[in-house]
């Protein structure tokens, strides 16, 4: 009889091997899927994973795009991972992302057309604030009323989308926009434009913030008492109580932190690659980031790599659409399979197999 016996602490070796196995399994399954669609499997895998990085024709274009796509994913996922570690499920990062974008854009447009070096920092603060406030709703509701944060944060995504549509056509609508919905294009507003720091590298301030967030969170989780408390709460709640940790404070911290980072990501995106507030400005980063967080095993460095990998699948997927006519949805499926394979192989990290007689 096969049983699973819980390990004391996750085996280090398997923690590193299992994501690799999951990726390989996904490539195999993906290959089969491509073959079923009538596309050459090996070529498809190559186009998705190899070409964007190394192919001479495309790489110079796609490599920067990699960072553009990975930046928000990593930034949001880092924030989410803290809460997930403590069992606090923020599923509404997409909504916090939107609110951050709205707040950030509003801050910028309030000053238009004045130019000043202070405008961008103000936008940054506003963006973080917007996301933070939006996350405070589920935080306070959970702390005070024990309301499930999964559902509240999720419902707030739809509310945020409605607000987005409203401001795109109302409050933030471009007066010089010939009546079309959407705000001014921030890419044309120098003080507000989130430009690439190094030309043609894709590295705008959002990407840089993402790297900074990785470092910051790594330090916090390994060296700061707050990070310790989060880990303790997730590992042994009674010991956390014994250590004097306040669950309420930690809940508000985790949700607030993830909301602020998601808001920042939204703000960087709207003032950079996207350029303006439009009705459908949000592209699902808030949800994909959840996958990135799990793929990265809730570890800052893991998330960094998982974010890059996810971005690669996006870019590679677009390339494969172009080159092979591969349907866009296949990439979504690919990403979903990656997550499920990882969850499946994860069992070996946390449990040991025992084959034998019970009792």
């Amino acid at each position: 009889m096969i049983r699973f016996e819980k390990r004391l602490s996750p085996s280090r070796a398997t923690t590193i091997i299992t994501p690799i196995i999951a990726v390989i399994l996904t490539m195999i399954a993906g290959g089969i899927m491509f073959a079923l669609l009538g596309k050459p499997p090996l070529e498809a895998i190559r186009i998705i994973f190899w070409d964007p990085l190394f192919d001479p024709t495309f790489a110079s274009y796609s490599r920067p795009q990699l960072l553009v796509k990975a930046g928000p994913l990593i930034l949001i996922a880092i924030g989410l991972s803290i809460g997930f570690k403590a069992g606090i499920w923020n599923i509404g990062a997409e909504g916090q992302y939107i609110m951050g974008a709205i707040f950030g854009a509003a801050a910028a447009l309030a000053f238009f057309p004045a130019e000043s070096a202070l405008i961008f920092p103000l936008m940054v603060i506003s963006g973080a604030l917007g996301g933070w406030l939006w996350a405070m709703i589920p935080a306070i509701l959970r702390a005070k009323f024990k309301t499930n944060e999964i559902l509240v944060s999720l419902m707030l995504v739809y509310v945020a989308e409605s607000i987005l549509a409203s401001v795109a056509q109302g409050l933030l609508k471009n007066p010089d926009g010939y009546g079309f919905p959407g705000s001014r294009n921030l890419q044309q507003y120098p003080s507000a434009f989130n430009a690439e720091v190094i030309a043609n590298s894709g590295m705008h301030w959002g990407v840089i913030s993402a790297f900074m967030a990785v470092i910051f969170t790594y330090v916090m989780m390994t060296r700061h008492i707050r990070g310790f408390e989060v880990r303790l709460l997730g590992e042994a709640p009674k010991a956390a109580q014994f250590a004097g940790v306040s669950t309420t404070r930690l809940t508000i911290f985790c949700l607030g932190f993830s909301g602020a980072l998601a808001g920042l990501a939204g703000m960087f995106e709207v003032s950079g690659p996207a350029g303006q507030i439009t009705i459908d400005f949000n592209s699902g980063y808030g949800f994909t980031a959840i996958i990135v967080a799990f793929l990265g095993r809730l570890h800052p460095v893991g998330i960094l790599m998982a974010g890059l990998l996810m971005a690669l699948t996006y870019i590679g997927g677009e390339l494969a659409q172009l080159m092979l006519g591969l349907p866009g949805a296949s990439i979504q499926l690919f990403q979903g399979m990656l997550l499920l394979f990882l969850l499946a192989t994860d069992v070996f990290t946390n449990y040991r197999i025992r084959i034998g007689v019970a009792h």
């Binding site: 004391l8 602490s9 996750p10 060296r223 700061h224 008492i225 707050r226 310790f228 880990r231 303790l232 590992e235 042994a236 009674k238 010991a239 109580q241 014994f242 250590a243 004097g244 009792h359």
Partner: protein, 506 residues
Amino acid sequence: MTDMLLDIKGLTKAYPGVVANNDVSFEINRGEVHALLGENGAGKSTLVKMIYGLVKPDSGSMTLNGDEFSPASPNDARSGGVAMVFQHFSLFDALSVAENIALGMDNSPKPRELAKSIREVSQAYGLPLEPNRIVGTLSAGERQRVEIIRCLLQNPKLLIMDEPTSVLTPQEVDILFKTLRQLKAEGTAILYISHKLEEIRALCDTATILRHGEKVDTCIPAQTTARNMAEMMVGASFANPIRSNRSIGHTILSVRALSTKAADPFGTSLHNIHFELKAGEILGIGGVAGNGQDELLAVLSGEVQSQPEAISFKGKPVGHCGPNKRREIGILSAPEQRLGHAAAPAMSLKENTVITAARRMTLVQNGFINWKVTDEFSKNIIADFDVRTPGTDTPAGSLSGGNLQKFVVGREVLQNPEVLIINQPTWGVDAAAAASIRQKLLDLANRGASVIVISQDLDELLEISDRFCALNEGRLSEILPSAGLELDQIGLMMGGSSDRVQETSP
């Protein structure tokens, strides 16, 4: 047809490292109320699990009604006519009484019939139950009724009851005894597991006493004094206490009129706890588990708060302070549950040090954990307390019980507390580690700190404590000097004899 119902011969069961039951034999007759007596760890639960089919004996045999009886599962035991009411109920709070009973029966009748049977049977045995009530709204005593009725509806020949009065009020105990006597009159045998001597003398026909997995004796409680039974339960082995000539100073911790409400039906409320702890003294609090030990530790450690004046440290009220505030001023504690409460099993020893020593040993500066200093402190603990471990990075959960406990105790002792409260310091710990832990506690007191030791091990308490009292059902007995304390006094303080309970002081 003989009177004998269940004949147990030579049952033995061993687990790695410990022999739970060694060659235990006794008989239960029809209509007999047979007590199974012994301290925690004496082997009662293992024995009973074998009778109920949850555990297979290594050797020995049982006969039920003259036929061989070796149940492979509780289902088998039930078909043989053996029913059991566990100490911890398997009940579903959101469901009704009838639904709970139906779930516990192998062939439950239709709802209407079941409701009728429940009403009839429960009335007949003096334990009235309304079938439609939601179990979550019932008191602990009423919940036990659900478990009992569930058993009775299957017409058992032998009813096993595990510590049944631990959750009952005195009135409910009377009602239960009436029911049991009625069952006895009808010929049902009852195996009654308990450590409460007075109850056993009032209710039971015979008593089998276990100690360290072996049967000490089978006696007739009515013809045995409580003192004799206590002696047999606890053993007369007594190491000579190492009395040091320690000078006892002023009162450092003062606890007055401390009462708490139990957090859940299985918890114990504390009633009017009152004691004064002096500098340099070790106060021993004895008692069988489940009488409020965990609750007392929680309220003294700060995890549960009380009225500010209920607990005073050096004259200042601290009842409202949380654990970290108390640590700052010098009140440290070590709870009974090592893994999950005192330490996080998946985290390393180094990380576990931070849990309690962060502030007092300034392991945290400006919010940042100084891992180097923490590591050094951890290494000190490991060296000073002889903790066998590859290093400070080993997860706490992989240490043996004794070593982990040495670490936990060391973590607190090396922080130089003024008051240390420790719950079950050597439970489940090998003899050598236990002796060293006790010596460390003595050394701590010698340095002028005060220690409260809550423990089930009387030998240990009498060895190291200056004064002794017992917790019983949330109440503290009177506090007497340990030197010269007699065994029967102790047994009675622990067993719940009312004339030794502390008067509620003004």
